[in-house]
């Protein structure tokens, strides 16, 4: 299958590969997978709790070129955005940016799921933190 130039570029030079401190209260981690193809994708966002702005994003994906490119592009897309804006990102944006063929659309869905999962995780952590602060206050 022929990949688009953009997919190949992201695959060869993935942006923002790496990890953030999972125990950091301002880091949300999303771990998602596509069992049909055995792919796993981990997306981590460092979010400013005051402003809700995503200050950093890192990913690690084991999977096909499209899955790697989708998550790489997703990190570029969401850095600097507020979590509200990031939540509204649709997989179709990734599809059109990377020219993903129909058989690879699920890779972009995976990236969208990862963004949502990471934000959910951040919110959960913040809620827990606030709850424990109230208890101790």
């Amino acid at each position: 299958m022929a990949y688009s130039e953009k997919v190949i570029d992201h695959y060869n030079n993935p942006r923002n590969v790496g990890t953030l401190d999972i125990s950091d209260e301002t880091v949300g981690t999303g771990l998602v997978g596509a069992p049909e193809c055995g792919d796993v994708m981990r997306l981590q966002l460092k979010i400013n709790p005051e402003t809700g702005v995503i200050e950093d994003a890192k990913f690690k994906t084991f999977g096909c070129g499209s899955a790697i490119a989708s998550s790489s592009y997703a990190t570029e897309l969401i850095k600097g955005k507020t979590i509200e804006d990031a939540q509204n990102i649709k997989n179709t944006q990734i599809v059109s940016e990377l020219n993903l063929p129909p058989v690879k659309i699920h890779c972009s869905v995976l990236a969208e799921d990862a963004i949502k999962a990471a934000i959910d995780d951040f919110r959960k952590k913040q809620a827990q933190k606030n709850a424990s602060e109230e208890v101790s206050a």
């Binding site: 771990l31 998602v32 997978g33 596509a34 069992p35 049909e36 193809c37 055995g38 796993v40 981990r42 690690k60 084991f62 096909c64 070129g65 799921d113």
Partner: protein
């Protein structure tokens, strides 16, 4: 095959929609139907009838090979019984499984990076250990599948969905786990042999 409703291979082969099947009977049906549908026996028939026999022959081969393999049979049953379950469950893959897959992938990737500085028996040993662990897990899945197959056969003829759904869900999870384990096994084998990681 159309995207919406898959062909029912169980019905096509004339066997019950069960997971534990008599494979000898399946084979007999296959041979019987092969004769019935064989295009050579329909050379005098109309164009339409010949096309039908050709279609049936190719479907017969797909049906037989799908039902013969216990995992493919389970996957097919799931597609027929619960076409939405796979999609609905995609977001509910157990986190523990994803974490384990991620961890093993990272270990393999790390071992690969250092592969150039060969003569690292520790990493080679680590890869062998992972390989063995994955192989054991895959082997154990077969026993789990057999247990689920027994459970399914006990309720297969009932119309009550509430008895079936939990089994179908567990079946889906088992097949997902197997996909992951197989991908990992291929990846670790490639790392052990120093060949590129499998891509798809």
């Amino acid at each position: 095959m159309s995207a919406g409703t898959p062909d029912d291979y169980f019905a096509f082969m004339g066997i019950d929609r069960e997971l534990l099947i008599d494979t000898r009977m399946l084979e007999q049906r296959y041979f019987q139907l092969s004769r019935d549908y064989h295009p050579d026996f329909h050379t005098d028939a109309s164009e339409e009838a010949r096309q039908t026999s050709l279609d049936n022959s190719s479907m017969l081969n797909r049906a037989y090979h799908t039902l013969k393999d216990p995992y493919d049979r389970a996957r097919h049953l799931l597609a027929l019984e619960s076409p939405d379950v796979a999609e609905a469950q995609r977001k509910q893959i157990p986190t523990s499984l994803l974490m384990e897959v991620m961890e093993i992938q990272e270990t393999i990737a790390e071992a690969r990076q250092h592969a150039g500085l060969d003569a690292d028996p520790e990493r080679a040993e680590a890869l062998r250990g992972i390989h063995e662990r994955l192989q054991t897990k895959l082997n154990n899945l077969r026993g789990d599948l057999d247990l689920l197959a027994h459970e399914w056969n006990a309720v297969a003829q009932q119309s009550e969905r509430s008895h079936k759904e939990p089994i179908l869900k567990r079946l889906n999870e088992l097949l997902d786990t197997r996909n992951y384990l197989r991908t990992l096994l291929q990846t670790v084998e490639a790392a052990m042999h120093g060949t590129p990681a499998p891509r798809h």
